[in-house]
Symmetry: C2
Subunit: 148 residues, 2 copies
C-alpha cells in the first residue's frame, strides 16, 4: 500500500460518502416536496433556477444543465410543468430554434410555498446526517464552504 494507492482509496471513500449524503437528502426532499406541493426534486429545481435567473427565463439547454438531465427529459419535464400552468414556453425572437421558459404567476406562487418546505427539509436532513459518523465530516465541510 503506497501513497498512491491510499489516494485512490480516499477518493473512492469520499465518493461513497458523497453519494450516500446526496441520496439521503434527495430522498427526504422528494418526499417533502411531493406531499407539500406535488413537486419532484427536479421540478422544484427548475422553478427555483428560473426564479433565480435575471428576467426569469432560461433556454431548454440551460435548464438541462442546471438539472443534470438529458434534453429529452428536459422537454418532457417542461411539458409537465407547462401543463400544470407553472411556466410557459416563449419563442426566441433572435434564434427561432431556441425556446425560453418563463415562470407564470402560479409557478412563482407555488415556488414561494414550496421553498420553506425545501429549506427546512434540507436543514433537517443535514442535521440528521451530522449524527451519522460516516457523513458528519462531509456535512461540516459543506457548511464551511461559503460560511465565512
Amino acid at each position: 500500500m503506497g501513497i498512491k494507492d491510499d489516494a485512490v482509496e480516499v477518493r473512492a471513500q469520499g465518493w461513497r460518502t458523497l453519494a450516500a449524503l446526496h441520496g439521503n437528502i434527495e430522498a427526504a426532499l422528494e418526499k417533502a416536496l411531493q406531499s407539500a406541493a406535488d413537486l419532484s426534486v427536479v421540478e422544484y429545481t427548475v422553478l427555483d433556477a428560473l426564479s433565480r435567473q435575471d428576467g426569469w427565463h432560461m433556454r431548454m439547454q440551460q435548464l438541462a444543465r442546471a438539472t443534470a438531465l438529458s434534453s429529452s427529459a428536459t422537454t418532457r419535464l417542461v411539458n409537465r410543468l407547462e401543463d400544470r400552468g407553472l411556466l410557459t414556453r416563449i419563442l426566441c425572437a433572435d434564434d427561432r430554434r431556441g425556446i425560453y421558459t418563463e415562470l407564470t404567476e402560479a409557478g412563482q406562487k407555488l415556488l414561494l410555498a414550496a421553498r420553506p418546505v425545501h429549506d427546512e427539509t434540507l436543514a433537517e436532513s443535514l442535521a440528521a446526517a451530522e449524527s451519522v459518523p460516516e457523513l458528519e465530516p462531509l456535512v461540516k465541510a459543506l457548511g464551511a464552504l461559503q460560511g465565512a
Copy 2:
C-alpha cells in the same frame, strides 16, 4: 437579510453544489463503466460493496441501504446480476426469510477489471471538477476528509 436567512441560503447553495458534483461524477462513471464492463453505477456499487464485506455476502436490505435503492429495485438489480452469473442468492439458514447474495468467481473477476476504470474515471472527474470555480471548494473539502 439576517444571519438566519444567510444560513438558509448557504445550505441551499451547498446542496446545489453537492448535487451538481454528484451528477457530474455519476454521469462520467456511468459512461465509463458501461462501455468497459457493461455495468451501471449501482451495479458496480453492489459488486464493490460485496467485495468489501467480510465473507463477501450481504442481505438484500443491506444492499438496498448501500445503494440507496428501494427493496423492489434491489430485487431486480440482484436478478440482473444473478442472470449474468456475477452473484448468487444463498438462503439464510437462521432466518429463512432472509437471502444472502454472494459474489461468484465471474463477479469478482469483472469487478477486478472494472475497478481500475472506476478509480481512474473518478480521479478524472474530480480533477475536471476542480477547475470549475463553483465546484472546486467542495472537491478540495472532499479530498481533505480522510486525507491526513
